[in-house]
Symmetry: C2
Subunit: 471 residues, 2 copies
């Protein structure tokens, strides 16, 4: 048997601002153990038996973020492929891409297990059992889905009505009264978006129920290309064809139409991290109902989630708050209004505020940079370059750069010179000099860059040569 876990990323996670940003969405959020949601999803996926290949469907804008998170887990991660979407076109198209790929590489009997990249599951033993059952259904030619036994009348989820393992119907997010009736009935389960099927089964179902999705995605896969500087772990779907796929969810496109279904009811401490309240649940509460991360000092504070990144937070006489601190942005919200963090995010976006888009740490193909401080005539960055990676050969018209190596070693092109810098050494790149930074070593290179000059915008850059195709 060949099992192919498929991890699907999508959505900005605007309800989880300021931890999530448009360029750094929910799957990349780190939970208390320091691992991201997508890393937890990968670890769960590869704990399944008989994994032949892992597939991640993600926006091409998030390839390097995804790859970074995978790389941190290697060598645990088995062979894997990144299927890069040129744009988001909902889950039917994303799943179609994975099915077409798995069918091509592992054949029509390969069993795909589709997991959203941004859920947490607390009870891994239960998860393993349940997935075994779902895979069993898949082997019989059914499309199996998990039904999470509801613990509260939640209106944020779609439900599945079931009779044993037989699906009666899929239903949309209900209102509160309906959700209460669902909960009381014992026949309704949360639709977690986790599916299990043979590639041939899904190809047939899509051909029958959503042929336009299947055709467009098949063409985009066929015309897709590696565009990977010789790396073979990714396929960039052709944008021209992918854009023709109807925007529709797998539920609407297939699940509500096919009769070839099974549901596996389960309880496995599932959490879709849909809001800060869901994130809070991952941190245990203290005796006053506070869930605290970081350097937090409280006076008469209760029933609040307080998360500090680096700074000290003091609270006095408050309750039922969500306080989330990050290097460049702070959220203070009422606990019963966390859904409306989305409104705050949309407002920031509408006003063009950079805080909706970027963190102070920005991911690049070669590593990351973090703006530590900006002031009159200076900007300071911490630059981390991965082993073997290098930045483009570049030049700035308006700024000089001073580089101090604080960890690792650097190979530097500075005008006509080439030099090596060890930890503790520094160099100076005058305005107008062509320069390049490279990490020739085996450990991360960390430098502090102090830029000085009259104009310090990111757009003052002329790239002469770039291994990542950005010149």
């Amino acid at each position: 048997m060949k099992v192919v876990p498929v991890i699907i990323s999508g959505g900005a996670g605007s309800r989880l601002w300021p931890a999530s940003r448009q360029s750094h969405p929910k799957p990349f959020l780190k939970v208390a153990d320091g691992r991201s949601l997508i890393q937890h999803t990968v670890l769960r996926a590869i704990s399944l038996k008989d994994v032949a290949e892992l597939v991640a469907v993600t926006s091409r804008d998030h390839l390097f973020l995804t790859k970074d998170d995978f790389d941190e887990l290697s060598p645990a991660v088995p062979p894997h492929t990144f299927l890069l979407e040129p744009e988001g076109r909902d889950t039917a198209a994303a799943v179609a891409a994975a099915v077409i790929h798995a069918n091509a590489t592992q054949g029509p009997d390969a069993i795909l297990c589709v997991f959203p990249a941004d859920h947490m599951i607390g009870d891994l033993a239960a998860f393993t059992n349940v997935m075994g059952r779902a895979i069993e259904h898949a082997r019989q030619g059914l499309i199996a889905t998990l039904g999470i036994r509801p613990s509260r009348p939640d209106t944020a989820f779609g439900y599945i009505e079931a009779d044993g393992e037989k699906v009666i119907r899929f239903v949309e997010k209900p209102d509160l009264e309906t959700a209460k009736a669902y909960l009381a009935s014992g026949r309704f389960f949360w639709n977690a978006g986790i599916f299990c099927f043979k590639s041939q089964t899904m190809l047939d179902a899509m051909a029958a129920h959503c042929p336009a999705v299947l055709e467009a995605v098949a063409a985009s896969y066929e015309h897709g290309h590696a565009n990977n500087n010789g790396e073979s772990d990714r396929i960039e779907l052709s944008s021209e064809h992918f854009a023709l796929a109807p925007r529709i969810s797998l539920d609407h496109a297939v699940m509500e139409k096919t009769r070839n279904l099974a549901v596996v009811p389960c309880e496995m401490a599932w959490n879709d991290i849909g809001s800060w309240n869901a994130m809070a649940e991952l941190t245990p509460a203290d005796g006053r109902g506070n869930r605290i991360r970081g350097d937090v000092h409280t006076v008469d504070t209760a029933d609040s989630y307080i998360s500090s990144d680096k700074r000290v937070i003091g609270t006095v006489g408050v309750s039922d708050l969500v306080i989330v601190d990050s290097p460049d942005a702070l959220l203070v919200a009422s606990r019963d209004r966390v859904q409306d963090v989305k409104k705050l995010f949309e407002g920031l976006k509408a006003s063009g505020h950079e805080a909706h888009l970027l963190h102070s740490t920005v991911h690049r193909p070669w590593g990351t940079y973090t703006v530590l401080e900006e002031g009159d005539r200076f900007k300071i960055k911490r630059i981390e370059v991965k082993p073997g990676r290098r930045l483009s050969l570049q030049m700035h018209h308006h700024r000089s750069e001073h580089w101090v190596v604080v960890s690792g070693s650097a190979k530097v092109v500075n005008g006509d010179e080439e030099l090596f810098l060890a930890t503790n050494q520094s160099t100076y790149i005058p305005c107008g000099h062509k320069h390049r930074l490279e990490n020739p070593g085996k450990i991360d290179l960390v430098i502090i860059e102090v830029q000085s000059g009259d104009y310090l915008g990111e757009d003052d850059i002329v790239r002469f040569d770039d291994v990542y195709g950005r010149a």
Copy 2:
């Protein structure tokens, strides 16, 4: 006539954490116009007629902070003397020091006007009128005090009962019922701690009512010394003698005992900035009752004070909060619990948390430094050196320092070399090299220092020569 305004600083302002810290107390807090409370106090004081000399009584730990704030106002500031207390011994001792000094320099008829350093007064025309009246009483040989007409039954102030301008009695902070009765009577006024008298009048009153204070402080003044590297603007009171002064307020020591009194009732938009609510009143409210400073975005937020330093703050569905952000610390408090910020401060202090003591910007005799970032093996500071000032000649065993000049020019001793750095240039001080940084120019020198090494504590410093007596 010779008028001597006396500005008295004291107290940490622990209710105004995180803006105030033990090493950066309330008088140095900046209000919305960018000026500090003590600067506003100085400007009010020197607006009086016939000012012969200005006296500031302050802790010797805060001399350079005080001097910085005075220097920023120069050349507006007239001749002035800093009387440096070796420790705080309440207001009777502080006023005694000022009286002894003014008597020595300006004679027995000098008229002292005592102002706490940390109040705001909104109606300057009323202030001028009222002080004119108080000075008139002082010329007649009375000790005059201002009585602020109360606008609410506040329990945080002492009250003065008056019949016209005649003082009936001083009373301690009342309970709420009593305060309401005081307010209703129209005969009670807030005791603002602003006093006016001839030096001879107060010397006589202290000799009669608190001779131990007067004797101890007179001895500490006599044995005080300039300790000022040739600068003549300060007198450091001898700690040995000052320590003998009983700890007592001027109210208890003199005002409650003498009959030689007058009170000037007044309304002048007085605000003692006793809490974040008082600070909030200096920022106008918007239509939803929010008072906002900085980059703040709100969704359904009302009746809150939200102050951001640099970062973006987003709020959702909250009301009646005080949110104060600073580079290294954040406060979130309920508006009706701001008095208990003191408890938070005390807790931080008791646990030895640095955030009770220091801001990320630290004042030194030569200027300031701000820790921008600390990480594994590196620390980054922004260092500002005032024109003509220099740091000690020093050496570090465990760290190298890289200096980038981003504004102004620097004279640098680096081992046996001496060099000049212009804006945009940089240099490198290896571990173990004796070095010194000096600003030979006419404008502030700003450098970014990147420290690298295994140990980066402030205590890894050997000072060889220090113009500020710290070697």
